[in-house]
Amino acid sequence: MDLASAKMIGAGLAVMALAGVGVGIGNIFAALVNAVGRNPSARSKVFGIGILGFALTEAVALYALVIAFLILFG
């Protein structure tokens, strides 16, 4: 197997981590919707933390993307 094909396969494997990130982000917003559903007045309190959690989880997806780019173009 030559290097270029191995790089492509490596990059493809690296982005499989995004499955976990999808589950994580879904979890955060499920919790957010649940919290607002049970107690609509808490919306302003939990919304900020929910968005912060989303940003931190999205960052993990981008770490995987950076590794994929490093494999593909490094």
């Binding site: 912060l52 940003a55 931190l56 960052a59 981008l62 770490y63 993307l65 173009f73």
Partner: protein, 244 residues
């Protein structure tokens, strides 16, 4: 068409506008440096001009400046406590610089300063080294008890301490890569979809519509990433000042 095929990574190349070579050091004024000057100029102009002739009942510009000040002041006070309030100017500068860099990069023919890893790494390492120095100045060698969470059984120490040390040392990396990767990925997506427009002919309207929505999303992500960087700096400061 295939002859002048440009890759989506081409938008990140650095051009020297004014070549300056000091001995072997290449200190040229690049497009990245130009955009940084523009960003700093915009932040200073925004804050200074908005607060000119400040009235008790604020005008629109003044209330925007005051809103951003209060937003960060509340965040610093909530997350870093009373002792952390003296670091407010640093966190505010950090937040405004990253926010304006992210947003100015979305203009056509502009350049996103924070899409270069060296820029975000510089900011993240500054925060990390600053916070570590503050921790040592405040706690001395007692700082090393930070790596052993209290209440944990001593048996677990050989396992816990290396993990805690590694996770502490990975903070500047995660801080830098989070911002850099968000900005780079956003701009690459914009470029990739824009590249589809001509080849799709009549249906080229669809990538244009998607790009419009994507720019809106990128504005949101730019603001969010600036906020995340600032709030993580406050949380690390909290760790340094109060040690859990």
């Amino acid at each position: 068409m295939a002859a002048n095929k440009t890759s989506p990574l081409e938008q990140f190349t650095i051009h020297r506008i004014v070549p300056i070579h000091i001995g072997r050091l290449d200190a040229s004024f690049t497009n990245s440096a130009l955009l940084m000057c523009i960003v700093v100029g915009l932040v200073v102009a925004f804050m200074a001009l908005s607060m000119r002739g400040a009235r008790l009942v604020p005008s629109r510009w003044q209330s925007m400046a005051e809103l951003s000040y209060e937003f960060i002041a509340n965040m610093v006070r909530d997350n870093a406590g009373a002792a952390g309030a003296r670091y407010f100017p640093f966190v505010f500068t950090l937040f405004m610089f990253i926010l304006f860099s992210n947003l100015v990069g979305l203009f056509p023919f502009s350049y996103t300063v924070t899409s270069q890893f060296i820029v975000t790494a510089g900011l993240a390492v500054t925060v990390f080294i600053g916070v570590t120095i503050i921790a040592f100045a405040r706690h001395g060698f007692h700082f090393f008890t930070f790596f052993f969470p209290e209440g944990a059984p001593v048996i677990m120490a050989p396992l816990l301490v290396p993990i805690e040390i590694i996770s502490y040392l990975s903070r500047p990396f995660s801080l830098a890569i989070r911002l850099f990767a968000n900005m780079m990925a956003g701009h690459i997506m914009l470029a990739v979809f824009a590249g589809f427009v001509v080849s799709l002919g009549l249906f080229g309207v669809l990538p244009i519509l998607f790009d419009s929505v994507l720019i809106g999303f990128e504005v949101f992500i730019g603001i969010l990433q600036a906020y995340v960087f600032a709030i993580l700096a406050c949380l690390y400061l909290n760790d340094a000042l109060y040690m859990h």
